[in-house]
Symmetry: C2
Subunit: 272 residues, 2 copies
């Protein structure tokens, strides 16, 4: 059975999607048709959204599930009239928060405020830093890095650096450990001054071989033998040099990134 | 007055942070000390979290605000014992959802499920696509692009492409429009076959000049005169060639990205 789920927001819709998907994930057996309706910031747009929801509900014969993060009261009242179950975090949580904090929210006094991104420039800076210091091409900016990820080719360093930059404004460089680097199981010279910033990634060798085969099929680089060898060397190096490390196998970029933050104690530069 | 806000999760903590920050943004006048506690996946870790929260609450003389997205019941009961206001989306919304959907959630039957990232590889693919097709260096993969962002240097193309890839698995290329490209106010030849995929970015020239000055101070490139000239040319080009476009000035990467999705009708490849 298929059900419609709507994520409605006066902004990007990202909060409504995250909240909604966390809840819907608890209903494994139901297939949801997900529709995001962002930037619903006028009564007219809200009325169009309601018309769409009602048409879908009638078509499917089941009331929709509606995740609403619109702040404006008038617009929310319009969305309230849609046929379906409304899941509304502002409605549910602002009153108890006002009581605990002993002030009225902007929402209650009629002045809406979305979470603002005050750290825009520092995040762009961090993304540019990640791009400029990718793949060990340059190491001269390592002294300004917050963290330097190391690991074998294709273990997930670049996407993780970009996510740390984009989401948390963290300056993350990365350096690929090659066979030459690990020849005598020593840390490359260029990394030695930054030992305290190093964080290792490792990966299941079978998985690594699959990933490398997508890039260069049937090469020595992607062979199981080579992948087992490199991963074995790199893990020995981490242990010997006491570099903290985690495995990226079966982890999302979000999970790899937040585990690195948790283990290093790096501060999230939160968007708020 | 300063209050402690905790974001507690058995996973990355990202949902708790987003939900929490959306709500806290409605209390502008209060300064919050934000603490994320991710991967709280055992009773022991939950007890440590409670001890930390209670110590902070006593220190500040104010009960904490606790945003909890832990799924496991036993762990949640431990967190319930902390001194503070608990904001718990599972507790608040799963019962009404179960009634509307007429099934028990995995959570209720004792089998927790977090939102899983089934599209990991397609997102990594998309990030690699964005990196490989950045800045117009290569155009031969444009036929597989979902969207091609165009705009003057430093208007926000690269971070937006990376966000579209990382968050939504969308293959986004970008092409910088230079003075030569715009010499006769025509579309560059290499872009013509992909007209339907083009999306323009523009930016306030004063803001552009500030950004460019950070890169190359006091150059022709970053001069106000040059920035006004380029932005004027590029907006004329968009209008003449009927390329949809938005301004990136004062917008977050998330907002630019989701507005592009809304205007192009590109499907979000949701993580669920």
């Amino acid at each position: 059975m298929k059900r419609y789920a709507y994520f409605i927001s006066d902004g990007t819709g990202i909060t409504a999607e995250m909240l909604g998907n966390s809840l819907l994930a608890q209903f494994e057996k139901i297939e949801f048709e997900r529709v995001t309706l962002p930037y619903i910031d006028s009564v007219t747009k809200a009325e169009q959204a309601v018309a769409l929801i009602n048409a879908d509900s009638r078509k499917s014969g089941q009331p929709a599930i509606i995740f609403d993060t619109v702040i404006d009261k008038t617009i929310r009242q319009v969305i309230d009239s849609a046929e379906g179950l409304k899941i509304d975090i502002f409605d549910a949580f602002l009153k108890p928060l006002e009581q605990a904090l002993e002030v009225e929210s902007s929402y209650s006094v009629g002045m809406s405020h979305s979470a603002k991104n005050t750290s825009y420039l520092s995040r762009i800076d961090a993304v540019n830093f990640a791009l400029d210091n990718d793949d060990g091409a340059r190491t001269r900016h390592y002294k300004t890095a917050d963290v330097i990820l190391v690991g074998v080719s294709r273990c997930g360093k670049t996407p993780t650096c970009l996510y740390l930059a984009m989401q948390y404004g963290i300056k993350a460089a990365n350096y690929p450990l090659t066979e030459e680097d690990m020849a005598d199981l020593r840390l490359p010279k260029s990394l030695e001054p930054y030992r305290s910033k190093l964080f290792g990634l490792t990966i299941d060798p079978d998985r690594l071989s699959v990933i490398r085969n997508e890039r260069r099929a049937n090469s020595r680089y992607s062979s199981l033998k080579q992948c087992y060898h490199e991963v074995d060397e790199v893990e020995t190096l981490y242990q010997r040099e006491q570099i903290p490390f985690i495995s990226t196998t079966d982890k999302s970029i979000e999970e790899i990134s937040t585990r690195i933050l948790a283990e290093t104690g790096l501060q999230r530069r939160l968007r708020s």
